[in-house]
């Protein structure tokens, strides 16, 4: 068997493993492990798309978590404020929509659970039980969130991407900070630091293969997140292999040279930025529905740093390696959570693990810039090529006289 196939085989084995895992694993901590895996897939999506942006296109955005939040908050606000009813409420802002009415709730924030202020509840009291209020479908919210991420990405990209690399990093860092400030400040709409609740992915449960799963069951979101990850990896892989990927890599290596050869550099930079932002927003929206709550704390720089660290440690120039690295590191982070004591000093591992993570990030960048996983893959992919080259050079040794290079 050829060594070149080893990474592909490893990939198939990995996919098979993750497909089979929820059915095989039956220990007591099943929900916990499943939750870590779902979070791991989520980070893997974010890391893979960030890798596309940073590693392939050379555009360093520190606003990936910001786009994630754009997606999550779009779907949260959408599901929170918009409903369908068959009859007019006469209390809320409402539009005729097909046979029924599209209801837009008033943004009254934390107090919206009190009956008097919530216009929809007032209407429901008048109606009694006869009228069914339909919440918006979850998939529509996620789609809207994804689109909103794309719109924000387009606006920021067209503003900043014609400039040099540092500006994008600066601006996106500022963007996520502003977004956090805005979400925390607009308490009436977003409920501020308290966070806004979302319906579960399958609010009424779902029946798969004749088996009913409750809305708190981990299996449906596990597969949704896993297939989303596979889809994103496939999409990014296709893009990377296509002409688009070639252009993007060309402008990473030398923007002026790429422009001189006819690549519209700004357009391609904006395109890759919009695509990766949409992926981040979509993943964020899905994850928010799975977790059930989104708060501005998800936006802190720490989260962005985790994605950067995962991408760099996995391998910033290889999408799959970055994704696998993200899942592994998420596991590692969870394992390192337990604090312990050395003599009288208590080591608070919840913080120290992040310090180790940062040191690992810096050391990886400094001493193994391709990441820790990619060299391993390269060893299998190119190991035999290296040997062949050495062997060939060895054969040619006697001819290698001075001056013969010009002839070759």
């Amino acid at each position: 068997m050829n060594k070149t196939h080893a990474p592909n085989i490893a990939g198939v084995v990995l996919i098979a493993f993750f497909m089979a895992f929820p059915f095989v694993y039956t220990a007591d901590d099943y929900p916990y492990i499943m939750h870590i895996l779902i979070t791991g897939f989520f980070y893997a999506i974010l890391t893979a798309s960030w890798t596309m942006l940073a590693g392939y296109a050379g555009q360093f955005s520190f606003g990936h978590m910001g786009f994630m939040a754009v997606g999550a908050y779009t779907t949260a606000l959408f599901s929170h404020y918009i409903y369908l009813t068959p009859e007019p409420t006469n209390f809320c802002t409402e539009f005729a929509f097909g046979d029924g009415y599209l209801i837009v709730l008033d943004p009254i924030g934390v107090t919206s659970s009190t009956l008097k202020q919530d216009c929809l509840r007032q209407a429901m009291e008048v109606w009694g039980d006869g009228v069914a209020v339909t919440p918006m479908p979850v998939w529509l919210g996620i789609t809207l969130g994804t689109l909103m991420g794309g719109i924000f990405g387009f606006l920021i990209g067209t503003l900043v991407l014609p400039l040099r690399a540092a500006y994008l990093a600066l601006f996106t860092l500022g963007f996520s900070e502003i977004l956090r400030a805005a979400i925390s400040a607009e308490i009436a709409v977003t409920r501020g630091q308290a966070g806004i609740e979302l319906p579960a992915l399958f609010q009424d449960g779902v029946t798969l293969f004749g088996k009913h799963f409750d809305k708190t069951d981990k299996l449906p979101p596990y597969f949704i997140m896993f297939f989303l990850l596979l889809f994103c990896l496939g999409l990014l892989g296709l893009l990377a292999k296509s002409k688009f990927g070639l252009f993007v890599r060309a402008l990473r290596e030398d923007q002026d040279a790429a422009a001189a050869l006819g690549v519209n550099t700004t357009r391609y930079k904006v395109m890759v930025f919009v695509i990766t932002s949409m992926i981040a927003a979509g993943a964020g929206a899905t994850m928010a529905h799975y977790v059930g709550i989104i708060s501005p704390n998800n936006l802190v720089i720490l989260q962005m740093s985790l994605i950067v660290a995962m991408a760099v440690i996995g391998g910033v120039e290889n999408i799959v390696a970055a994704a696998v690295g993200a899942i592994l590191l998420e596991f590692l982070l969870e394992m390192l959570r337990n604090s312990f004591q050395i003599g009288p000093v208590e080591i608070d591992m919840t913080v120290w693990r992040l310090v180790f993570f940062g040191v690992l990030l810096m050391l990886t960048l400094r001493f193994s810039p391709k990441g820790l996983l990619v060299p391993t893959i390269d060893y299998f992919l190119r190991g035999h090529i290296g040997k062949e080259t050495v062997a060939k050079r060895g054969q040619n040794k006697p001819d290698d006289e001075p001056g013969s290079e010009a002839v070759n």
């Binding site: 940073a54 050379g58 360093f60 520190f62 503003l159 900043v160 400039l163 040099r164 690399a165 540092a166 500006y167 990093a169 600066l170 601006f171 860092l173 500022g174 963007f175 900070e177 502003i178 400030a181 805005a182 925390s184 400040a185 607009e186 990473r252 923007q255 002026d256 802190v300 720089i301 720490l302 740093s305 950067v308 660290a309 760099v312 608070d348 913080v351 120290w352 992040l354 310090v355 993570f357 940062g358 040191v359 990030l361 810096m362 960048l365 400094r366 810039p369």
Partner: protein
């Protein structure tokens, strides 16, 4: 706001003519084969301030664009904006109360000087290394933390100068060591894309430092005690304190402007260090060598300056400046491991506004951002929201700068030898 219709109407009008002006002016100048590098700024500012009248003049005459032509329309735009605001919100404190405006302006100036000082470190690093240090806010935070521990916890009897010196020395060493260990591959060609490497590695440093401090110090806010008290002064006389009046923690000028002690000492210290730094950069051999490297690396190397040593000095010095700003402000604000993020962002804004790599630009930008923030927090009707949007004012400034004049106010067209390129 009383007449918000007027306000938003005028703003819409200004934006419309600003956008039209910037797009069409560029076309017009391009059509006549003239220099278009600043037409966007002039067109938009002229359009925003004067509407179609000024634009028609600009398009017909197409005069050569001078600094004056950029300055006056911009000032006029600001004036129109302020006028609109005062007409549409006549009851606002910013419009009715002169002494409130005076204190806001003086506070904006003072805090702006400190901001500018901090941004100076960033611009120094950028002009020599071509790297935007994302760990700038963390050095600021560490400077404050060390000063706090020296002056309040460990050696309260030694006085603040020792604490500040300790903060400066330790961050200088930290910066120098980091540069030697992690940034040297950038100049020796060991990494393929030095600019990106610089962004990532300083980001990693920021992350590590922040959580290291959180792990060792904890996440509770701390605050240093005041470095020194004002002497009790009343001028011209004790009965009639209209010129200057001080208490231990506060100073009042002209009976209207109130300046708090920590901010005042911080600003004075920043100005003193700025002057010392200017002397160092302009009069000493090392300082001249630093500036030479920032202008042209290769020429400096030919003249016998080791650019790599200058890299180390610049990074250490820039980090030390951030730490000094933190050391001065730890007596004014409460201090957390996360405290560096917003000042760092503000420094980025200031540096871009002033022009990446320009030292006077950093100071000018700092003062402008300080004034904008003071105006924002003081004038926006809903005070609670105005305070929570503080980082947003800087971002608005940044967006406008990037749209209108990406090189910044005093930016050089050509910055920093090898690493500054796109």
């Amino acid at each position: 706001m009383e007449f918000s219709g007027i306000f938003w109407g005028v703003i819409g009008w200004m934006i419309f003519w600003g956008v039209t002006g910037s797009i069409v002016s560029r076309r017009v100048y391009l059509h006549k084969d003239l220099d278009t590098s600043n037409t966007g700024l002039v067109g938009s500012m002229l359009g925003a301030a004067t509407g179609p009248v000024g634009l028609a003049f600009l398009w017909m005459k197409t005069p050569e664009i001078t600094t004056r032509m950029m300055l006056f329309p911009s000032l006029a735009t600001v004036a129109v904006f302020m006028l609109t605001f005062s007409i549409s919100d006549p009851g606002n404190l910013c419009v009715t109360n002169g002494s409130f405006v005076a204190s806001q302006i003086s506070n904006g100036l003072i805090i702006g000087i400190i901001y500018g000082f901090m941004a100076l470190g960033l611009t120094l690093i950028f002009s020599i290394l071509g790297v935007v240090s994302f760990a700038h806010g963390e050095f600021y935070m560490i400077g404050g933390m060390i000063t706090y521990f020296f002056t309040t916890v460990w050696f309260p009897e030694l006085g603040p100068i020792v604490g500040i010196l300790a903060a400066c020395i330790s961050t200088f060493i930290l910066g120098a060591v980091f540069e030697r260990v992690f940034l040297t591959p950038m100049y020796t060609g060991k990494v393929d894309r030095p600019v990106e490497y610089g962004i990532l590695i300083t980001f990693g440093l920021a992350f590590t430092l922040q959580y290291f401090i959180q792990a060792t110090v904890g996440a509770n806010p701390v605050k240093a005690k005041r470095f020194f008290d004002f002497p009790k002064v009343r001028l011209p006389s004790a009965e009639d304190p209209w010129l200057i009046k001080t208490s231990r923690g506060n100073m009042e000028l002209f009976d209207t402007i109130s300046i708090s002690n920590p901010r005042f000492t911080a600003a004075v210290m920043c100005i003193l260090v700025f002057l010392a730094l200017m002397y160092f950069l302009r009069r000493t051999w090392t300082g001249k060598a630093l500036r030479a490297v920032s202008l042209d690396r290769d020429a400096a190397a030919i003249a016998g300056i080791n650019p790599n040593k200058m890299n180390m000095l610049a990074f250490a010095l820039g980090s030390m400046i951030a730490a000094l700003a933190g050391a001065m402000l730890v007596q004014a604000f409460s201090w957390l491991p996360q405290v560096g993020a917003i000042p760092a962002m503000r420094s980025f804004v200031i540096v871009v506004l002033g022009g990446l790599g320009s030292i006077p630009g950093a100071f000018l930008g700092g003062v402008i951002v300080g004034l904008v923030e003071a105006a924002g927090t003081g004038c926006i009707p809903n005070a609670q929201k105005a305070a929570s949007y503080i980082p947003a004012y800087g971002m608005i400034v940044l967006t406008l700068t990037l749209l209108l004049r990406p090189t910044g106010l005093l930016g050089r067209k050509y910055a920093s030898g090898t690493h500054g390129k796109v």
